[in-house]
Symmetry: C2
C-alpha cells in the first residue's frame, strides 16, 4: 500500500515520473495543471500518483517557485471571541476553497505582539495577510509596505490602509446609535466598555456616539471602561459601577452586545424596567441576545459578509485583479425594544 523509497519515506515526484515513464518536469506540469502535455500523459501520471499515494510537498514547491507560498496569515485580537471566531470561520472557508492555508495569530490588541507575529509569519513567504488590529506599529507599516505583500485590514474601514481595508465604519455605527438614543428622548447617557490592553474598536464607536451627543449639546454623563476583556460579567459589573457612581442614567451605550446583555441582567436584577427606567444599546447582533425578553437595540453586522469579503478581496489582489482599496461592509441599526 505504501511504497517508501526516498529518505523521508515519502513518494517523491521523481518516483512518480519514473513510474509513469516521463520526466519529472512533465509530471510537475500535470500536477500543477499547467500546459504542455497530452491527455494520455496526464492519465499515465495520475494513475501513478494514485497508485503510489503521492503527497505533494508544498514546502519544496514554495521553495522552488521563488514566489510566495499558499499561506495566508490572519491575525485577530483573540480567538476566544465569538465575533472574531465567526469572521475567522467564514474567512477560513473562503480561503480554503481557493487552496490557501490559514496561519493564525492572536495579538491581544497589542501592536507590538502583532509586529512580532508579522515578522514571524513573513518568514513563511505568505501570499497575503489579513490583519484585524486597528493600530499597527510604525515598523509594521514600513515592513509590510516595503515587502509589497497583499494586506487586507479588516474590522474597521481604514481610510489610509497599508494596502486594502474591508470593514465596518465603527465611528458611524456609534454616531447613528447616538442619534437614535437621543431621538428617544434620553439625555442622561452613560457608556460602558472594557479595554484589556490597548483600546479596541469599541473606542471608535464611543467617539461616534459622543459626537452625536455633542451635536445635541450633550456629552456622556459618565463613562466606565473596565480594564478587562469584554464579557457578560464585565457588562454586568460595569453597569453596577457606573450606576453606583452617578446614581441613575436614562440609557447606557455598551461597547458590544455581550456587555449590553450583561448590563441588561444587572438592571433586571435590580428591578429596573427596560426601557422605561433605563435604555440599553449594544453593537454586533450577537446570538446571545436572542434569549432576552425584548429585542436588543443594537447595530446588526454580518460577520459572514465581512469574512468572505475580506477573503475575496485578498484573493483578487493576489491574483492581480483590479480591486477596490476600501470595501465597506454594511451595518444596520436594529431599533429593538430596549431603548
Amino acid at each position: 500500500m505504501k511504497s517508501r523509497s526516498s529518505k523521508r519515506g515519502y513518494v517523491s515526484l521523481t518516483e512518480v515520473a519514473e513510474a509513469a515513464g516521463v520526466s519529472k518536469m512533465t509530471a510537475s506540469r500535470v500536477l500543477r495543471n499547467a500546459t504542455g502535455f497530452s491527455e494520455e500523459t496526464r492519465n499515465k501520471v495520475m494513475r501513478e500518483v494514485e497508485r503510489l499515494g503521492y503527497v505533494p510537498d508544498r514546502i519544496a514547491a514554495a521553495f522552488g517557485s521563488e514566489q510566495t507560498s499558499t499561506i495566508v496569515g490572519v491575525s485577530v485580537p483573540y480567538l476566544s471571541s465569538s465575533i472574531f471566531g465567526a469572521v475567522l470561520d467564514s474567512m477560513n472557508g473562503a480561503l480554503a476553497k481557493f487552496g490557501y492555508q490559514t496561519m493564525i495569530g492572536a495579538h491581544e490588541n497589542s501592536p507590538e505582539t502583532e509586529e512580532t507575529w508579522i515578522k514571524n509569519i513573513l518568514s513563511w513567504r505568505p501570499a497575503g495577510l489579513i490583519l484585524s488590529g486597528h493600530s499597527h506599529t510604525g515598523a509594521t507599516r514600513e515592513l509590510l509596505k516595503a515587502q509589497g505583500i497583499p494586506v487586507v485590514e479588516i474590522w474597521n474601514l481604514n481610510t489610509s490602509p497599508i494596502d486594502m481595508s474591508v470593514g465596518f465604519n465603527h465611528y458611524d455605527c456609534g454616531h447613528e446609535m447616538g442619534e437614535f438614543v437621543l431621538s428617544k428622548g434620553h439625555t442622561n447617557i452613560g457608556y460602558v466598555g472594557a479595554d484589556a490592553q490597548a483600546p479596541g474598536l469599541g473606542a471608535l464607536r464611543r467617539k461616534g456616539f459622543a459626537s452625536a451627543l455633542k451635536s445635541a449639546g450633550l456629552q456622556f454623563a459618565s463613562e466606565e471602561i473596565l480594564i478587562d476583556r469584554s464579557g457578560f460579567y464585565a457588562g454586568y459589573y460595569g453597569t453596577e459601577n457606573i450606576l453606583n457612581r452617578v446614581g441613575s442614567l436614562d440609557a447606557i451605550y455598551y461597547q458590544d452586545d455581550v456587555m449590553a446583555i450583561g448590563g441588561f441582567f444587572y438592571c433586571q436584577s435590580r428591578g429596573m424596567r427596560i426601557p422605561d427606567d433605563i435604555g440599553i444599546a449594544g453593537w454586533g447582533s450577537m446570538e446571545a441576545a436572542s434569549v432576552l425578553p425584548q429585542r436588543l437595540t443594537t447595530t446588526v453586522v454580518s460577520t459572514q459578509a465581512l469574512g468572505k469579503s475580506a477573503a475575496d478581496t485578498l484573493i483578487a489582489r493576489i491574483r492581480g485583479e483590479p480591486q477596490e482599496d476600501m470595501v465597506i461592509t454594511p451595518t444596520r441599526l436594529a431599533p429593538g425594544g430596549t431603548v
Copy 2:
C-alpha cells in the same frame, strides 16, 4: 534602510555571512543557536543581521532540514465557538512560545472534511497535529499512523488514540451530573441538545447521564436534539419544543451551558421557578452563566488547562521526550443553584 540584492529582494543568509566575513554555514549556526562558534563570531553575525534586516526564510529552512517544519496543524469543529476559541487561544499561545506556527482548519464535525484538510496540511510537513474531531475516517487513522507524525486528539479522552489523547472524560461528566440530578430527587428528566451534522461530544455526556438514570431504573423522559449548532436560541427553542411535547419535566440536562442558559430564559419567560418548578443543568462553565440570577448547575472545565496541556504534550512528543499517551484534564461538578 533596506538593502536588496537577491532576486526576491530579500537579504539572504549568504549576504549576511559575507558581510560578517564568515561562511554561510557559520551564520546559519549562529542563527539557529547551534554550537560551534565563538561569542565574537555571534556578535559579528548578529550585527549584520540587524543592519541588513535579515528575515529568515523558513520555507528554505524546512526544505533544507529534510525533517519537518515548525508548523502545527490544529483542527476544530468551528472557529466560531467560544469554547473552542478559548482552547485555541491557549494552545496557540503555548505553541507560539516554542516557535511553532498554527495552521487552522474547521471540519464542522465531518470526518470527511477533516480527512481532506489533513491531507492538505500534511503536504506542509507539519511537526505535529492537534485534532478535535472525535471520530475520524479509517483512511485518516491509517494515513496518520503510517506517517508516524505526532498527533494529539483533544477534547475527549480517547481510550484508543491514534497517537496521544488529551481531554475530558465526557461520559463521566454526564454520569456524574446524572447522579447529582437524581440525588436532588428528580425523576422526570429530559435532554436538550443540538447536532448540526454528526454527533459531537455532547452525545457522550448524554450517554453518561443516561447510564446514571439506568442505574436508578430510569431513562430520559424525552430527548430533543435539534439539527442545528448549539446556541442560546437553540437552547431556548429546544426547551420550548420538549416542554410542549411532554407537558412538564422535573429537570433538563443540556448539551452545554449555552443551551442551558437559553433554556433558563425560556423557563423564566414562562414564569417557571428554577429550580422549584424545573431544574437546569449544563456543561462547560461558560462565562455567559455569570449573569444569571442563580449560579448555574454545571460541570466546570478548564479550557486553558486543556489547551496548554495539549500543546505541551505535543511539543514533548515532537522533542522525543517520554510522554503519557493519555492525559486527562480534570473537571468538577459545580452544584450551583439551578437544580
